[in-house]
Amino acid sequence: MDMPLNAPAAEVEWPEAGVSRVPFRLFSDPAVYAAEQKRFFRGPIWNFLCLDIEIPNPGDWRLAVVGEIPVVVTRDEHGDIHALVNRCAHKGALVCLQQRGNAKALTCVYHSWSYDLSGQLQSVAFRHGLRGKGGMPDDFDTARHRMEKLRIETFCGLVFGTFSEATPPVEEYLGETMARMIRRNLGRPYKLLGMHSQMIHNNWKLYAENVRDSYHATLLHTFYTTFKVNRLDMDGGMLLSDSGWHSISYAKRATLQAAEEYKTIHSAQYGSALEGSHLLDSFTEFDDGVTHCIQTVFPTLAVQYTLNSLAVRFFTPRGLDKTELFWMYLGYADDDEEKTRMRARQANLTGSAGLVSLEDGCINEFVQRGTRGSEDHAAVLEMGGRDVASSDGSRATETAIRGFWQGYRTVMGL
């Protein structure tokens, strides 16, 4: 019998140095990937599913995904939201096929098994057979069959789902500091201004690292420095939740301004070598002075507020070395036209064509390719120490990445 090529490792042996070392095997071993689908994505974590504003009306549904598990998020006739594995209880076919829809019931096209919006089986085609012949056994009970349900919780319009009973409530999972920043950015009515996605050619965990990596920001992304954008962002830091799993990388504007300036556009502060400097026209929305923050929610969500560009990033594995990264750009419901225009211009800074961030589309692939054949080696993450702790005052740190691995090891039991 032939030995399988690339025989998967039974398990990963984590280096003794702990989370300051990350075995490259984690990004390329099919056994790890398979284990994640069962153990990690069905584990005690909150997975971002969608925004509640995407399913505003009774009967609305939208497809989502947890790891590779297909999910449908519905809103029932009472306005309650449900998350179901998009898999028929009969043969396992997809139930909902379109990305979005509205229906009174969810019906599998294969054999017309039909579910209510909470996923409970309602009816089965030919249950009593045809002309008295065939049909289900007499004791077949529709009440005993349903689409598999996830626990859900909505926080500031973010719909989260979990397969585990052990997952604590979302606010407890986030911790106080993280919950407060999400409330700051998403705690009032907002609307979707645009959405696109990006297929990056790397394992999903490389993006999870990348979005937590404040060390690389000014080194890889040179747009601001090349164009001499004077950001006046004096203070900054990296805050972690008590668990270490979630993070906020932030920068603050210098705190010299007079109060009157707070309501005005401050493009002049971003003097630069740009020809089209209106790119950076912005206005002050919050009085905490924070002009840039990238907040991560373990494992696959980030909320960005950079200048006035408000966006939700979500990423999900599409195979061992493919990750789809979704960019959902938001504005507040009461934005006037001018604010919307500024948010639209600033959206140029991020996304798949982001002037500041487009390098992230390829840098993780460079790691994926660079580590080929080196599965037994490991990354070295010692910037800012070897521990997992907030780094107030400096973003030259990899503490948030170590925090991600702390969470990953806990959930995976590694």
């Binding site: 990006q198 990056i200 740009l274 064509a353």
Partner: protein, 156 residues
């Protein structure tokens, strides 16, 4: 009925633009637009929904020039080139110019030789006479798909 001579001029504008991008003469790219022109790359779903944010937005030649400067001097990516395939333009007279719609397919050729279909969609253009030349007063690149492979740095 559109004057055949005008049709030729519009077609030249479309093809000259595509050639300039495909031949890596991106410094010429802003010159295909009027000074205050709008250039946007946006997925069809967002375009149809009337949402303002797509993938790239330039308001005026200055922002286009910044894009070119950025990709030459600041942005980091693996070298690649495009090949534009254009359909036949549909031209309709409009206020102060012409509305032009053109289907396109753009292939991306990587330095390793890999050639992939990078983008398909349609150009939704407003073309105007600007001095002696025809130029885009607005060019909206409406992508059929919402998904970009790897990254988008060269204009479509």
């Amino acid at each position: 009925m559109i004057d055949p001579a005008l049709r030729e001029q519009v077609a030249d504008l479309l093809w000259d633009y595509a050639d300039a991008v495909d031949d890596d003469r991106l410094e010429e790219w802003p010159g295909f637009f009027t000074e205050s022109a709008l250039y946007q790359i946006i997925p069809r779903a967002a375009y149809d929904a009337g949402q303002p944010i797509g993938v790239m937005l330039c308001e005026g030649r200055g922002m286009m020039q910044d894009r070119v400067n950025a990709l030459r001097t600041a942005n980091i990516y693996e070298p690649h080139a495009y090949r534009h395939m254009l359909g036949r333009p549909r031209i309709a007279a409009a206020d102060a110019g012409w509305d032009v719609r053109t289907g396109f397919c753009v292939l991306r050729i990587g330095q390793d030789g890999d050639t992939v279909v990078f983008a398909t969609g349609r150009y939704v253009d407003r073309v105007v006479r600007d001095g002696a030349a025809l130029r885009f007063a607005s060019r909206r690149v409406v992508l059929d798909s919402h998904r970009i492979d790897i990254l988008l740095v060269l204009p479509l």
